[in-house]
Structure formats: C-alpha cells, structure tokens
Symmetry: C2
Subunit: 248 residues, 2 copies
C-alpha cells in the first residue's frame, strides 16, 4: 500500500498541505473517496487512513499499524563532498538501507566546491530523494539530509555520537578486518553511530587526526577497495546484519 509522510501530528481528520504529496496522491495515484493509504506523521507511527474528501485533500485516520522497520541504532553517514551527482545515489540507497541521517561535508580532498546557494539547492534535491526513497522502502522516519558548508560545523557535531567510525582504506589494506565487527557487538539499542567516508581522494591525515581527537576509530570495510559512494552501502548493511539479523 502507498505510504506518505505528513508533517505534524496525527488527528482523526487530516488535510494534506504539501503540494508534491497532493500531486502524487491525486494526480499520479488518482486516489478517490474510500481509497486507503498509510500516513506517517512526526511520531513515526504508521497509520491506515482513507480518503474522506478528495477535492479537499482530506483523510480519515482509521488505525495505528504495528510496523516499525527502523534500525535499533541510529546510523548517520557522512561523506566528504564527492563529485557530480554521486550523493543522489548515496541518499537513495542509504535511505533504503536504513540510515537515520545522510550528511556531507567539504573534505580537504573534495574536488567540488559547493557554496551557499548551490549547497541549499543540492540539499533540497537530496531531501526530496530521501523522502521518496523513505516512502518506497516503508521507513517510519525520513532520514535527515544535511550538507555542511564548513567542515568546522561538521566537526562540532561529532560530540553528538556514541561511536564514530572512519572508513579507512589503509586499514583494509593492512588486513585490519575485525575492528568494526568487534565494536558492533558492543553497541546498544538507541545509540547513535556515525560513519565518516572520504571523497574520491580519501581522507587527509589532518582530518584523521581531527576525527580521532573527537573519539573516532579507523575501521576497514572488508579487504576490497570500494568507491566513495559504495562504502556507505557496506557500512549500513553491516550494521543492519549485526544489530537486526544476528542473535534474533
């Protein structure tokens, strides 16, 4: 069944205000009176709802659904600005793979320069991709999308996390393969995890130092070299496997 995220709190009668949502509901899906959808409000609970008045874009909320597909831990991925549209792919797939937030920051070795206006436009586009992917993958929450204009702002945010991992190619090359698995054994439900990924050129030694001072740990993600946009898929899948699939 089609799912939509709606800003605000659940009430018995809800009027949809968001233009893109209205367009998808009534032009693309051609919903009419009595048609049922799933609505997800700010409380992240899925609710069955039916169209009460299609011209007024009004729904009657019928009941809460018992479906929570969010990971037991909140995983944020943060990429050094990669080239081109790679963040589009990262955002869509990371949303499907369960990310709580998708961040990016201007890394020392990022080639692209995104300034205020361009950055805001890009963030807006990525937020739409995350919303669409969250609806398709039946998430309870839309991942936060955040592009930092300055690296300093990103570094300040590091203190919000319980564990910070740096995806580090050299660790993989050196045969270091167990650190991530060991750390994931100790995470507890509700904890906030951050994975930091370099841009195409990697993470600079100075950045490594900064992140390590903030408590970050270098980890390998298997022995193979992955492109910058592929490594987050591995990290999110590994966290899901370790926290959602093992020992269940």
């Amino acid at each position: 069944m089609q799912q939509y995220f709606v800003n605000g709190n659940a009430e018995q009668l809800v009027t949809i205000e968001d233009k893109d949502t209205i367009k998808h509901m009534f032009n693309v899906m051609r919903l009419t009176e009595g048609d049922e959808v799933v609505l997800v409000f700010d409380d992240a609970i899925k609710r069955l709802a039916k169209v009460a008045d299609s011209s007024a874009h009004q729904f009657e909320v019928l009941k809460e659904l018992d479906s929570n597909v969010e990971m037991p831990v909140q995983v944020t991925i943060a990429s050094g600005f990669p080239k081109g549209d790679k963040l589009d792919l990262v955002t869509q797939k990371a949303t499907e793979l369960g990310a709580a937030a998708i961040w990016a920051f201007p890394a020392d070795w990022s080639v692209v320069k995104w300034d205020g206006k361009k950055l805001a436009k890009k963030e807006d586009k990525l937020a739409k991709i995350a919303l669409g992917a969250a609806e398709q993958s039946k998430r309870n929450r839309v991942p936060e999308v955040r592009l930092f204009e300055k690296k300093a702002g990103f570094v300040v945010s590091l203190s919000d996390f319980d564990k910070i991992f740096i995806a580090y190619e050299e660790s993989a090359k050196a045969g270091e393969l167990s650190a991530l698995a060991q750390h994931l054994q100790t995470v507890q439900a509700g904890q906030k995890l951050l994975f930091i990924f370099g841009p195409e050129g990697g993470i600079s030694p100075k950045e490594i130092e900064t992140f390590e001072k903030a408590g970050a740990i270098k980890v390998g993600l298997g022995p193979r070299i992955m492109r910058t946009e592929t490594a987050p898929f591995y990290a999110l899948s590994a966290v899901s496997f370790a926290t959602e699939m093992m020992g269940k």
Copy 2:
C-alpha cells in the same frame, strides 16, 4: 598502483594484446619504459610488472605480490531482468562488493524482453563494467557476467551451488530476520553461494516453488523494503561481514 587483467598465463615478458587495455595503458595513463603496474593473469595472482617496450606493449614481470582480496566463499548474484540500465549499477557495485559472478535471467514478472542480439550486446557491456570495476577495486578475479536467455538454463545451473538463498520480501515483512545469519554461520571456505533476486515486480510463486525444489531457502534481508538493485548490495555486504570480518 594501476592494475590490469591480462588473459593467459604469466611469463617473464608479456605482450598486451587487448585493444582497450593497450589504449588505457599507453594513451590514458601514458605509461613509458620503466613505469610499474600490477598485472593479473588467469591464475588470479597479482604481479608487479614494468614497461619493457612501450611501442611493442611489452612488460617485464618482476615479482608476485601477496595480495588476495577475494571472499573466502564464492557468491553469485542472480537478478530477474530489471528495467532499464539497472544491471549496470548492480554489476559495478557487486564487483566492488566482491561478487564472484553476476547473473540475470528472464523472470516471470520481468517487464523487459531481451532477445539474442540485444542480450549479447548487454552482456558485453556489463562484462566491460565488471572488468573496469574489478581493476579499480583491486580484485584478483573479474566476476563472470552471464545473462540467461531462457529461465530453464538458469534453473539447470542451480545444482552447481552449495547454498541458494531467495531474497524474499515477504520473509522480511513477516519478521523473519535470522535465517540468513544462521546459514552464514555454517558456510565453509570455498563454498559456492547463490542469491536470487526478483525483478521490480518480485518473484512469482511458481518461481519460488521451482527454486525451492532445487534446494533454495527464502531469506529476509532486514526489515526494510529495498529496490531490486539495492538488495544485492546488502547480501554481498552481509556475506563479507559474516565471513571476512567476524571472528578474525
């Protein structure tokens, strides 16, 4: 260092015959006498080599390198033909994530129809993508790319595998999350694993029955709904995590 796959066996002096490889070596990378690269022959061993004669495209093999990044198990992913160019992305990322083979077959609910000539062209394109991705991710082997024209051919090949998993959305919805983790605990080095993924519309009940008769097991890949092209990334990452990262 740049890596290239070369057909044939290693000898002390090697002349490169493949036109695309020659072009990349001497036009794109502009290699000259004395420049070093890594060559990987049919035996999957990486060897350091240096240009002996650039106009003759000849290399001198210097020594074997101790680098094997192949998974301890051989994982084949098989997708029901998906729409558009999705197999391009699957092939590139699955190669980076360590797949031994990337297969696709005409599933009951595949929308696209690829006939003999188109299929051959597509397979050729995907093989080139796999080769490029295998060189970039420093694999020891190039994954096999194989598009089955008839599903019967695919079904016959099922007997080659030690374990067959069907990525099954309904298993995930029903809360079945542990089967894959349990099975991955029992796999042994050298075993051949197959993961079957449906096209956009999913796998038909008749196909499920056929695959189960051949010994396949339905498994969920986490509780979220993934697009058909995303599920292989999860499966490959999970196998890597279970067989390469845990207990090391």
